[in-house]
């Protein structure tokens, strides 16, 4: 890296990238890129523009509102059927790709990995799709009688052709007594997945939070909590649940990984809502606070430092019995995680990591890497807002590149300039960096491993990072007859 400091290198990379764009795009992108340091005042975490329109014509990694509603929030609710309403593609591309684990008999009482589509034809566009939707609802109930509700997830055309899916849902709910919930999450709405999360939260607020049936007969305890914003990717919510139960709490609901209708409906009976993915579920947490007086707190179960810190914070909401148990649990697991660190830190210490993910992970996973001695030198959000960037500031340990809605071109150039030892992002980016000979981990799907939440999961995380960085395969990139060159040069 020569004599330049990390910060200088990072700033230089931004300047060089912006030179490529036409003036209008350069002006726009400049607001989304920056550098921040733990000591920095009004650095990139405060200034970065976010949740804005993507510059047209680039390879953005962003998804859409439908992805945020059907793919993220609603899709994992396992005993309900989620209709991808519109043309065939959206439901197919989002089928069974997120690893939202669940227990159930698929196609009989649970439906997460299936794809239900109204498969629009030209006729439906011209004459409207409400009639087809009505028929589809009836067919679903006949063939899948154990479903506990149906959601209708709008694809782009629905909002453009003047269909009234809300009316259809209302009609069918009355007709059949099946919870039927329409979400107008057309992909062109908003600028990313983020609006879809919000719309999905709102639909839960309006349709499930108002259903008091299950709540009435539910017997509460003083230790009832709900896990909010954990999609059980690779089983994350299960490894979270275990720890919460071990400290003496009773988890009455998971939102929405491995979730069921009833769990969501009884959540207003919880004493505390534990919010992991702030971005996608802060809305419903705030609603439950206002409507039912349930406090909520953000926690972070990535890596032992953050898990321990979070458990202690959770315990402060409860009595001394819980607090004492929490310390026991921390002590029990810390012995194991210390061994994990002893085993893996020597192999990972000082390795530089660049992150690019969505939701909570661009900041939440920093602690887990730092526990292993790995150094985060760049991070950014696909669909974060200003409050996400502000929260990121607290996690910075050194000069860090901050990039919002970074596109394929920019990320590639950043990586070439900063030369990290590991890139952790998504499937679309994965092979680009592996081609350059760089270890890569998918941090959306845990690269088909996981879980990564909690103490046991940290052992898996450490093992996976070691596997990625220290695999012999990266050493084969150069043929023995080639001279040694800088990677990516």
């Amino acid at each position: 890296m020569g004599t330049e400091t990390l910060e200088e290198l990072q700033n230089k990379a931004i300047t060089e990238i912006l030179e490529v764009y036409p003036a209008k795009a350069a002006k726009n992108r400049a607001k989304h890129l920056g550098v921040d340091t733990p000591e920095g005042v009004k650095g990139a975490c405060d200034k970065t523009k976010s949740n804005k329109q993507t510059v047209p014509g680039v390879m953005s990694q962003r998804g859409c509102a439908y992805a945020g509603s059907k793919g993220v929030v609603w899709g994992p609710v396992k005993d309900m059927i989620h209709i991808s309403h519109g043309p065939i593609g959206c439901g197919q591309y989002s089928r069974a790709g997120r690893r939202n684990y669940y227990i159930g008999t698929t196609g009989v009482d649970t439906f997460v990995t299936m794809n239900f589509s109204t498969d629009f034809t030209e006729n439906d566009i011209v004459f409207g799709g409400d009639k087809k939707l009505k028929k589809a609802l009836g067919e679903i109930d006949e063939l899948f009688p154990l479903n506990n509700g149906i959601t209708i997830q709008s694809e782009c055309p629905i909002g453009l052709i003047g269909d009234d899916i809300q009316a259809v849902a209302k009609w069918y709910k009355k007709e059949s007594d099946t919870p039927t919930i329409a979400v107008s999450c057309e992909g062109f709405r908003g600028v990313s997945q983020s609006l879809g999360h919000h719309l999905a939260n709102d639909s839960i607020r309006d349709e499930i939070m108002t259903d008091t049936t299950a709540r009435k007969e539910f017997e509460t305890t003083d230790y009832d909590v709900a896990i909010i914003g954990d999609y059980n990717i690779g089983g994350d919510a299960w490894s979270t649940r275990l720890l919460l139960e071990e400290i003496g709490l009773r988890v009455i609901a998971q939102w929405s990984g491995d979730s069921t209708y009833k769990e969501m409906a009884i959540t207003p009976k919880a004493k505390l809502n534990l919010l992991h993915c702030y971005r996608s579920m802060n809305y419903i947490s705030r609603h439950m606070e206002q409507e039912f007086g349930i406090p909520w707190m953000e926690y972070n179960f990535f890596g032992p430092s953050k898990t321990t810190e979070s458990l202690r914070k959770i315990a402060t909401f409860f009595d001394e019995k819980i607090q004492a148990k929490t310390e026991e649990v921390i002590a029990k697991y810390t012995k194991m995680t210390d061994e994990v660190i002893k085993k893996y830190k020597p192999k990972l210490e000082g390795k530089k990591v660049m992150l690019y993910v969505g939701g909570l992970r661009p900041r939440h996973v920093i602690g887990a890497y730092e526990d292993l001695g790995m150094e985060i030198v760049g991070t950014g959000y696909e669909f974060g807002h200003g409050d996400d960037y502000k929260r990121t500031k607290e996690e910075l340990k050194r000069s860090t590149l901050i990039y919002d809605d970074v596109n394929e071109y920019e990320l590639e150039k950043f990586v070439q300039a900063i030369q990290p030892d590991l890139v952790a992002a998504g499937i679309k980016e994965k092979y680009t960096f592996q081609k350059m000979g760089l270890p890569f981990r998918q941090m959306h799907s845990w690269d088909y491993s996981g879980p990564y939440h909690g103490y046991d999961a940290f052992a898996i995380f450490a093992k996976d990072m070691d596997l990625a960085i220290n695999s012999p395969v990266w050493s084969h990139t150069k043929a023995p007859w080639e001279t040694k060159e800088e990677i990516g040069a």
């Binding site: 795009a25 439901g91 498969d119 009505k134 062109f188 499937i427």
Partner: protein
């Protein structure tokens, strides 16, 4: 708790007793019937296996469950990536492009370049011209393509954006930056047809827009074009090119995406391989164009036959007879004898078929996939003496396909036992497999849930395949490709035979070391 000496991931972690207890605790709060009334789940699960359920299932008119098709722009992107230094550009919202790129990347384990112009609410109201003006300029500045292939999402189609006018408008607005850049465009509405329709529309548009009009064509009597179609097997593209080169060096593949999704380690290149733009721009001059996927090139064929007045042929070089027809067609068109090398390959394939036939003979198959691939695969199954009991094509074209398939099935001694299912999905297939079971299922990754539910083993052939590695690198075309098919299917059958005979002191008398 984890044993640090033996750290396990979720697969085995959740089998530990403390996790099993946690999962059990959870059921108290659940509404899923498996938690509230497990017997009911068994009852309904059994019912889904019955003829009664099948009849209700097959009567579905409005809801599609577990489709075996995707939408138009996906195919348009594959078509675009068949040309050198070409950036596929999707006019519409970027969520679609994120999906397309993920989908291809999970199949090929390779990056997939494609941009969108990120249309949003304002574009829904005012149209997407502003997005295209900025988008084409930005795309050109950053990715420096030599050709941009524009397709559309359903959003742009519903609001009625006029691509021709938009491209003209964007050029005028670009201060000369786009002047020398070919920009082709096709309307690819997701609510019409499937991904193969999008391939067809984009291919047709590129050929029409890159080539001069018929009055300017200069016929090259020796030149032959080959359009591969929506081909997920990169090895097939290589194989077709190799076979072609044995006949003539003037056979040109139009839409050659082999290299784009098969680059080596060491350096990342945004663009790789592809038909040269020079070859694309002179496609009209060929004597004949051969399409290897008749039903992925229905519209493209019209351009070639009617506008260009060029010879147009279709071949389907999957399986023995399909390859025979293809090489004979090349021989006829080039006036060259079939090379000895190909005759040898054919003899080797037939020899292998004669070595392995007892295992496929009389076995019943359920098979689904894209229309042209199915024609080839079913033909091969029939050639081997297998029985294509259920042939299901979700995206079968309205005209001709079922008839073509019936003609292939009619060659089988068991033709009467075989059924063709047009425009049916994989939840239909589930009922068919329960009520009229088969020995093996052939299909893409989504077949694995059918395998789980019915116990009928899945042999993975098709698109997409996300959960097995590197199959897309092989050929399923030509004699060598047929040998791959033979190997996969035969060994799939033998794996199952081992599976069924491995019980110690019960069935393992048949667990033979020699088969």
């Amino acid at each position: 708790m984890q044993d640090v000496e033996n750290i396990v991931n979720g697969q085995k972690l959740f089998l530990k007793p403390e996790y099993q207890q946690t999962l059990k605790n959870k059921t108290e709060f659940e509404s899923a019937t498996g938690a509230t009334n497990p017997d009911k789940v068994d009852e309904i699960a059994e019912w889904t296996k019955t003829w009664d359920y099948r009849e209700k299932n097959l009567a579905r008119e409005a809801i599609t469950v577990n489709p075996a098709k995707a939408c138009q722009p996906l195919g348009a992107i594959m078509a675009g990536l068949g040309f050198e230094n070409t950036m596929p550009y999707v006019h519409g919202s970027h969520g679609c492009v994120a999906y397309f790129r993920s989908y291809f990347t999970r199949h090929f384990k390779e990056p997939t370049p494609c941009v969108s112009d990120s249309m949003s609410e304002s574009a829904a109201v005012f149209g997407g011209l502003a997005n295209m003006k900025d988008g084409l300029r930005n795309c050109n500045a950053m990715y420096k393509p030599e050709h941009i292939a524009v397709s559309t999402t359903c959003m742009a189609e519903v609001i009625g954006d006029d691509l021709n006018a938009f491209v003209v408008g964007a050029r005028e607005n670009a201060e000369g930056e786009l002047d020398d850049l070919p920009i082709t465009y096709a309307h690819t509405p997701s609510f019409v047809g499937s991904h193969i329709t999008g391939y067809d529309n984009m291919m047709k548009a590129m050929l029409e827009q890159l080539n001069p009009s018929r009055k300017d064509k200069v016929v090259d009597e020796e030149r032959i074009n080959i359009i591969p179609g929506f081909e997920p097997y990169l090895g097939s593209l290589a194989e077709i090119k190799e076979i072609s080169s044995m006949f003539s060096d003037k056979i040109v593949m139009i839409g050659d995406h082999e290299k784009q999704w098969n680059t080596g380690a060491g350096e990342y290149h945004l663009y790789a391989g592809g038909t040269t733009l020079e070859d694309a721009k002179t496609a009209i001059n060929a004597k004949t164009t051969i399409s290897l996927q008749k039903y992925s090139t229905v519209q493209t064929a019209k351009t070639i036959k009617n506008k260009w007045k060029q010879g147009f042929e279709t071949c389907n070089p999957i399986g023995l007879s399909g390859t025979d027809e293809f090489v004979m067609k090349l021989s006829e068109l080039t006036g060259k004898d079939i090379p000895a090398k190909l005759a040898t390959q054919r003899a080797q394939l037939v020899d292998a078929m004669q070595d392995s036939y007892p295992y496929m003979h009389g076995k019943k198959f359920a098979i689904y996939g894209d229309p042209d691939m199915l024609l080839g695969l079913v033909s091969f199954i029939v050639e081997m003496g297998g029985i294509p009991t259920h042939v299901l094509c979700h995206n079968a074209p309205r005209k001709g396909w079922a008839k073509d398939m019936q003609a292939i099935i009619d060659k089988s001694a068991w033709a009467e036992d075989c059924q063709i299912w047009v425009n049916k999905d994989l939840w239909h297939l589930r009922s068919l497999m329960f009520t009229e079971p088969v020995d093996f299922l052939i299909g893409n990754v989504y077949g694995k849930e059918l395998y789980r539910d019915t116990g009928i083993p899945l042999i993975r052939i098709g698109f997409p395949i996300f959960d097995r590695h590197h199959l897309h690198r092989y050929s399923i075309s030509g004699y060598k490709g047929a040998l791959n098919l033979l190997t996969w299917i035969t060994n799939g059958i033998l794996d199952q035979l081992d599976e069924e005979t491995k019980d110690i002191a019960k069935t393992d008398y048949f667990f033979d070391c020699v088969r």
